[in-house]
Each structure stands twice: as structure tokens, then as C-alpha cells.
Amino acid sequence: MKKLLEVKDLSISFDTYGAEVQAVRNISFHLDEKETLAIVGESGSGKSVTAQSLMRLVPMPPGKFVGGSIIFDGEDITQKSEKQMESIRGKDISMIFQDPMTSLNPTMTVGKQIAEGLIKHQNLSKKAAHDRGVELLKLVGIPNPEARIKQYPHQYSGGMRQRAMIAIALACNPKILIADEPTTALDVTIQAQILDLMRELQDKTGTAIILITHDLGVVANAASRVAVMYGGKIVETGTVDEIFYNPKHPYTWGLLGSMPKLDAEGEELQAIPGSPPDLADPPKGCPFVTRCPYAMKVCEQHMPDYKELSSTQKTACWLLDERAPDVEPPESAIVGGTEVHG
């Protein structure tokens, strides 16, 4: 597999009143061609900032690059000029956002919003862009696209708007599609439809997807690999199977425990107790130390190194050190075979 994107030691902070919010701290991950990488974590863990930094959409100021690199196509995105970024955005890397109700311009027809990128990146005429827009709307499953393309976003339902957003994002056949919680704001039934659509389009176009979500349940069917993020750091990465069946980080256990289970009816959902760390003053050691039931002295003082458990799984946890006691994942984090591939 060829690496399409490689993020190395990326750190991004926000200068806020009197404090530096360290939203993303030294994260590294990569994205292969045609794969779907899920970035999972509770809200506030730095997922959106990570996603937006890949397209250099983090507002700067107050945001700033503290360090690291984002290598795309052999070149470092962090070093590019704004002008160069304009020819990457929408053409090579596209993004869809969480709330389809607010991510389309209310005073512009859907057709025009699709056409913009085509006119900019593919030099299409207005007419050609319009025709391509109709095709795209059909592709994302919007019925009666010739009429729909002339409508304004408020005439679309929530699910249809997200479909339109996908049409906009895929208009120029990007190599990477970043979907930042694309289904969080939608009804459960529509969520599944949108995820199915994304997978179907990925099969057709070969676009690699970064799927951001706080819901591990979404990940099982949609992604091939997972990066678990917490407190601005990636604490564990692995294939979907590794994360679901052989998770090693207590935070991943917590996420798995808080996932609804099909084979355990009536059982209480276990939300992870406590709250995420203050990123303006993050813990010196592991960010999860304040909520981790297995926390040791060393966790407070030192961030653990990544331990490679396989060629694909890496986990940063002191429990994996040979001096640490043996700890088994709790019952709630053990995933039955049924729902993952269900």
C-alpha cells in the first residue's frame, strides 16, 4: 500500500487569553491510498483540529503550528503558501462537516455551490459545471436532481444536505475525503444511509477517507484502521480488528465499554467517569491518568512511549511496560463477535 498522507509529530496550539491551549500534541499517523482511517475520541480530544490542519483550515491566529509535518504527495503541507493550498483544497483533499444544516451557504443554490469547485479546479464552463452537478447529485442519491440542483439548502432535509455536501466534496475526485463527524447531527436511520453512501462512493472512486467520530459503533463497519485520540494525543492505533478484539489502552477499553452492545440487552452503558484534561494545562504524563482506573505513579510524570504490538498496532500505555502488573480489560470492553461484522 502506498502512503498517501503522513503526519509526523504534529502539534497545534491556540493562543487564548493568557493560556496556550495545546489542542494537538505530537501526533503521528498515516493514511494509505483507498483506505478509511477512523479517528475516534471524546469531544474535545483534538479530532477536528487535526482534520482541519490537514487542509490548513485551522484559523491562525488564534491557532498556530507548533511543530511537525504533514507530508502529502511528497511535500509538506505546513510549508505551503496560502495560494498553493487553494489548489489543493477541494481538488486533492476535501472535507465534509458535522452539521449539514449550517455547512451549506443558505443564500446560494446547491447547484452553484457544487459548481464553484468544478469551475475553479477543472476550468469547466458554467453549463458544464451545472451538468456535472446534476450527475453528482444523482451519484449521491438525490432524487430528481435536475430540479433539486436549482434549490436552496433550506429546501433540503438534513440527510439530503449531507448528501449534497458529499457531492460538493467529491466533485473534483479528491484523493482524500475528510469527514468530520458526518453523521453525528443526523437521525440514526439516516446515519446508516450516509455511511453506506460514503463506502459505496469510495468503492467507485477510490478516494481515501479520514472518518472522524466520537462513536466507535460507527467505526466497525466503515473503517479499516482506527486511531484513538485523547487529550490531543493518539493513544492507540490499529486495524479495526485489533482495536475491537485486542485493545490495549484503558481509554480504548472505556470507549468500547460505552458503546451500545447488541448481545447485551438491558445492560447499562458505561460512560467513562470523569472529564477530559484541560488542554491549556495538560498533565505532564499520560493525558488519561486522571480518569484511568489502572493509573500508576509513573503515568503522572512521564508520557509512555508507543509499544508496537504488531506491524499495525501501536499503543502508548505504561501497562505494556514489562515492569507493570498484568491487567486484563474489563468485561464491558470485551466485544462479542456479532455486532462488529454484523
Binding site: Q52, M55, L57, E82, K83, M85, E86, S87, I88, R89, G90, K91, S94, M95, F97, D99, T102, S103, L104, N105, P106, T107, M108, Q113, E116, G117, K120, H121, Y152, H154, M165, I168, A169
Partner: protein
């Protein structure tokens, strides 16, 4: 659309009816009359004049006459200026006020929007502070003080512009600026906050994520959405310019409609009061309708239909 228009015009007529009635009641309630002045008229003559102008008729008959005249837009002769019809007075003075008002509206809108946009694009930077200092000054200084300051600086000290009267374009500059200052400042603040809000909207991020450059994002995506609050302020803007013109025309000695209105009130010139009031009301009500039509045109979410709450 046609239904909507009809409905709105119906509302305008009802509003006019109330305005005319209330004006009539207020005129009658105020002490004195058109022929009461320092130099006392002989009672017989005053009696005769009242008779001639129908002021001795029973109140309901006077009211009915007023209503009928108003519908015909014929208010009869002025009580004070013999031989002058009210409609003549209006058509003579209107052009001055119209030019002045339009100039002021244009100034307030164009410069107000521009200042607001500049401020928002330079949020918390030098340009923002300058624009907002101008705005705060503009809002806090009343127009009549602004007028005298302008006259003092530009007409008296610098001798750059005429101090008063209305003979050329140069004469219109100072009164138009004085008239425009407060609404201009208000529009600048409105535009700034609305633009700041819009620039943080998700769809702006979407627009950027398509690779559009900042200029296109600002003009094509942000501006049209940010201008909405300013469009809804157009109604109050017209009202402000109108009422502002009463005092500004007086200060600059402009024989406009606002000036006529003020004079007619002090003179108890019933027919002129009535005529100008009806005229101002029609102007206002129609401009509010026009604003709503513009709003519906700019914002596709607003449906102009006869049904529904709006």
C-alpha cells in the same frame, strides 16, 4: 406573490386610516387654531374665516371631509399661505428633501457597510479600532450638533463648502453628511458584528475547503449573508432620515418638505399638516414594503406569500 402584495397594500391602507385619524385628533386636541396669532383678529373676521374653511362644522363632518380629501389626495388650500394649494407646497419642496434624503441614505449605506466590512476583516486590529471609533462618535453625537460642527469646520473655517441654502450639489454635501452620520455609524456596527458572525459560520469553512480564495469567500459567500441585518434596518433607516430631515433642513435653511412640515405645525396650518403627514406616511409604508420585497429577494429562505404569518 400577487396575493402577498395585495395583502400588504391592504395593511398600508389600514395603517394610513389610523394615521390620518390620529393626526386629526391630535390637531383638534392641541389648543389654538390657524388664525390665532399675537395680533388678535377682530372676532367677526375670525368667525368668518373659520366659516370659510369649514372649521365651524361639527367635528364629525370635519373628520369626514378630511378623510375624503385624503383619499383624493386633495387637501385644499393652505391656511397660512393664501392662494397656495397643499399639493403645490409638497411638489415644490419635495425635490429638495428627496435629493437630500437619497444622498444621505446612499452615504449611510455605502460607507456604513464598507466600514463594517473593513472592521470585521481586520478584527481586533488597527482598521477595526479606527472604524469603531468613528462609529461610536457617529452614534453618540446628535445630528444637529454634527451639523453645526460641520458648518463650523468646512464652511466657516475652511471655507470649502457653502454654509447653508440649497443651490448646487456642493450645498447638499454638509446637510447630507450630517443627516447620514448616525445611521451610517449604526450600519457600520451592525455590519461589523454580522460579518464577524458570518465569517465564523460553517459554510464559510466549506467555501474555503473548496479552494476558493479569501476574496471570493468574502464577497460571494460572506457579504450576502452578512448584509441581511442591514437590509432589515433599511425601514428604520428611512424613518431616521425622514425625521432627521426636519431639523437638518431647518439648520441649513433648506426649503424642503421637512422644513414645511415643521413650519406648518407651528402655524397650525391644518391642511398642510394633514397633507405632509399623509405624504410622509405613504412614503414610509411603501418603503417598508419595498424593503421587505428586497429582503425576500436576497434571502431565499423568506417566502413572500399571501398565506402564513408574514
Amino acid at each position: 406573490m400577487a396575493r402577498y402584495l395585495l395583502k400588504r397594500i391592504g395593511f398600508i391602507l389600514i395603517s394610513l386610516f389610523f394615521i390620518i385619524s390620529i393626526t386629526f385628533i391630535l390637531m383638534k386636541a392641541a389648543p389654538g387654531g390657524p388664525f390665532a396669532s399675537e395680533r388678535k383678529l377682530p372676532p367677526a373676521i375670525e368667525q368668518q374665516m373659520n366659516e370659510a374653511y369649514g372649521l365651524n362644522d361639527p367635528i364629525y363632518k370635519q373628520y369626514a371631509d378630511y378623510l375624503i380629501n385624503a383619499v383624493k389626495f386633495d387637501f385644499g388650500p393652505s391656511f397660512k399661505y393664501t392662494g397656495q394649494e397643499v399639493t403645490d407646497i409638497i411638489s415644490r419642496s419635495l425635490p429638495y428633501s428627496l435629493i437630500l434624503g437619497l444622498e444621505a441614505i446612499f452615504l449611510a449605506l455605502s460607507i456604513g457597510v464598507l466600514l463594517g466590512v473593513i472592521a470585521a476583516l481586520n478584527h481586533n486590529k488597527f482598521g477595526d479600532y479606527i472604524a469603531m471609533v468613528i462609529a461610536v462618535l457617529g452614534i453618540s453625537v446628535p445630528s444637529f450638533i454634527m451639523a453645526t460642527i460641520l458648518q463650523y469646520i468646512f464652511a466657516i473655517k475652511l471655507q470649502a463648502l457653502p454654509v447653508a441654502r440649497f443651490e448646487s450639489f456642493a450645498h447638499t454635501i454638509l446637510p447630507a453628511v450630517a443627516l447620514a452620520t448616525t445611521p451610517l455609524a449604526f450600519i457600520a456596527r451592525l455590519m461589523r458584528s454580522s460579518m464577524l458572525e458570518v465569517l465564523h459560520a460553517d459554510y464559510i469553512k466549506t467555501a474555503k475547503s473548496k479552494g476558493l480564495n479569501d476574496r471570493v469567500v468574502t464577497y460571494r459567500h460572506a457579504l450576502r449573508n452578512a448584509i441581511m441585518p442591514v437590509v432589515s434596518y433599511l425601514g428604520p433607516l428611512v424613518v431616521g432620515i425622514l425625521t432627521g430631515s426636519f431639523i437638518i433642513e431647518k439648520i441649513f435653511g433648506i426649503p424642503g418638505l421637512g422644513n414645511e412640515f415643521v413650519v406648518s405645525v407651528t402655524n397650525r396650518d391644518y391642511t398642510v399638516i394633514m397633507g405632509t403627514t399623509v405624504f410622509f406616511s405613504v412614503l414610509l409604508l411603501v418603503s417598508i414594503l419595498v424593503v421587505d420585497l428586497i429582503y425576500g429577494f436576497i434571502d431565499p429562505r423568506i417566502k413572500l406569500s399571501g398565506k402564513g404569518s408574514k
